[in-house]
Symmetry: C2
DNA sequence: TACGATGTCTATATAACGTATACTCGCTCT
DNA sequence: AGAGCGAGTATACGTTATATAGACATCGTA
C-alpha cells in the first residue's frame, strides 16, 4: 500500500527500506487468498481489498492485472473448489455407488467452502474441473443406458440437491453466526422468537410444536435420504429402458 | 425528488405548484413497487432508489420510515410472494396430490418472481405466509403418519428441489439476457463457446456431444420428474411406518 | 556501463450503493 | 393562533468495483 504521507516531509530515514518490488503475484496465489478470505470471513467479506490485503502489502488494483474482473475471480474460485472433488478416472462397476460417492465428496467440499453453493448459480459452469465432473456423471449414466440428454437431467437433479442442501446449511450457519454462534443462549432466543411468531399466528399447531422442541435427522442424514430418493428414481428410469446387458 | 436548483435563483413562477405533501406511503405500496422493479429489471436493479422512483417523486430515504432497512424490505417481498401461492384450508384426501399441486403452484410463483429463489435462502423464513405454507405441508404429511420431524425433512427436500430448479432456470434466463436475449445467434455463439471449451479439453466426449446438439426434457418436465422421485421416496417412508388407518 | 522498454504495482478518481443524521415544511389539534 | 407531529428531503459518510494514468524496478541491448 505504502501511501504517501501528506503534510510532513518524509526523509529517507523515516521510511523503512521499501519492500521488494516485482513480487510477481499470480492467479493461483490470488485465488487461494480469495478462497481463504471467503472460507474464514464469509462471502460478503471477500472484497478485492480484503483479498489484496491477505496477499500482503497490495492495493486492490494489483489484482486486476491477473483476473480482470471480480466475476473472473469468482469463476476461478469455483473451479478451484470443484478441483478438490476427487474424480475416478473411470466409472466403476456400481453406477449408484459412483454417483453416491461423488455426491458425498461434493457435499464435503461445500462443507469446506460454504460460499460455493451461493456462487455456483451466478456464473456459467464452464470451468474445466466443473466440466470434467459433469462428464464423469454423464459417463456413469450413459454407460447404464441413459441418453446423454437424460443423463444431463439426472445430473442436474443430483446437483440441485447437493447445492440446495449446502445453501440451506450454510444459511443456517450464517444466521447462527450473525446472532452469536458461540452463545447457545442466543440461538435459543432466536428460536424462541420464531416460536412466538408461530404461536402468535394461532393456526400453526405442527410448526409451533416443532419450534417448542425442535428435533429431526441431522443435515447429513437429510442429505443422504434425499440423495437416496433421487438415485432410486433414476434407477427406475434406467432399468426401464436398459434392457440390454451391462 | 425536487432537488434545489444550484446556481440560478428560482422564482416561484419557474416552479410548478409543489406536489401534494403527506402522500402517506405505506408498506404495501413499497413492497409492490419493489417486487415490480425486481420482476422487470432484475434483482440487481432493485435498489432503494429505483423503488422510490417507481413510487413517484420520492427520495430513497423516504422508504426508511416504513421498512427500516433493505433486508426488512426483502423479508416483506418474500412473504408477499409466498402469499401468492394458493393454499387449501385443509389437506385433501390425496397427500401426494396436495404436495404436488403445492409444489407446482410454488414453481409458478417463482416463474413470476425469479428473484425469489435467490433471496429465500438469505433470510430466516419467518414470514407468516411462508410459515402457513410450511404448516400445510406438515399437516398433509403428519396426517399420513409421519412425525413432525420427518415431515420437516420431507418438506425441506421438496422446497430444495423447487428453489433449486427456480435458481437454475432464473440463472439461465439471466445469462441469456445478459448476452443478448432477443438475438438467438448470440445464444448460439455462447453455446458454441462452451462447446469449444469442452472440445478443447479433449476428454469430454459426452459433454462435447451434447453441446454440439443440446436436447432434453424441458425445465418443466425436469421439474416434475424430480418431484416425482422425491414423492415416491417419501411415499415409501410413509407406508413403512403408517400401519394405522387413514 | 548507460538506456530505453517492459511489466508490476500504486495513486487517484468515479459512480453507485445502503443508510445515519439533521433538516424543512405542511397538516392537525388544541 | 400556535405548538407539535409526521412525512419526506438534503446531505454526508463509508463501502463497493473498477477505469485511468503514472511511478519505478528490472531486464535486454548497446
Amino acid at each position: 500500500m505504502r501511501k504517501s504521507t501528506p503534510g510532513g516531509i518524509d526523509l529517507i530515514w523515516t521510511q523503512p527500506p521499501p519492500p521488494p518490488r516485482q513480487r510477481a503475484l499470480g492467479r493461483d496465489e490470488i485465488v487461494t487468498a480469495a478462497i481463504g478470505v471467503a472460507d474464514e470471513s464469509g462471502l460478503d467479506a471477500m472484497t478485492m481489498k480484503a483479498v489484496a490485503a491477505r496477499l500482503g502489502d497490495y492495493t486492490p488494483m494489483a489484482l486486476y492485472r491477473y483476473v480482470h474482473n471480480k466475476d473472473g475471480l469468482v469463476d476461478l474460485m469455483l473451479d478451484a473448489a470443484a478441483a478438490e472433488i476427487p474424480l475416478p478416472a473411470q466409472p466403476g462397476p456400481d453406477w449408484r455407488e459412483d454417483l453416491r460417492t461423488l455426491a458425498m465428496d461434493s457435499r464435503r467440499m461445500i462443507g469446506r467452502h460454504p460460499w460455493f453453493a451461493r456462487l455456483v448459480h451466478t456464473r456459467p459452469p464452464a470451468g474445466p474441473h466443473m466440466m470434467r465432473r459433469l462428464e464423469f456423471m454423464l459417463a456413469v449414466l450413459t454407460r447404464r443406458g441413459a441418453t446423454v440428454a437424460a443423463a444431463m437431467t439426472y445430473a442436474a437433479l443430483i446437483d440441485r440437491h447437493i447445492t440446495g442442501s449446502g445453501l440451506q446449511e450454510a444459511e443456517e450457519a450464517r444466521i447462527e453466526r450473525r446472532y452469536g454462534l458461540d452463545d447457545s443462549a442466543k440461538l435459543f432466543a432466536a428460536l424462541a422468537t420464531l416460536h412466538e411468531l408461530a404461536a402468535a399466528d394461532g393456526g400453526l399447531p405442527h410448526l409451533t410444536g416443532w419450534f417448542a422442541q425442535p428435533s429431526g435427522p441431522t443435515p447429513a442424514e437429510q442429505f443422504t435420504l434425499g440423495l437416496g430418493f433421487l438415485l432410486d428414481g433414476i434407477a427406475g428410469r434406467l432399468s426401464s429402458h436398459a434392457a440390454d446387458g451391462v
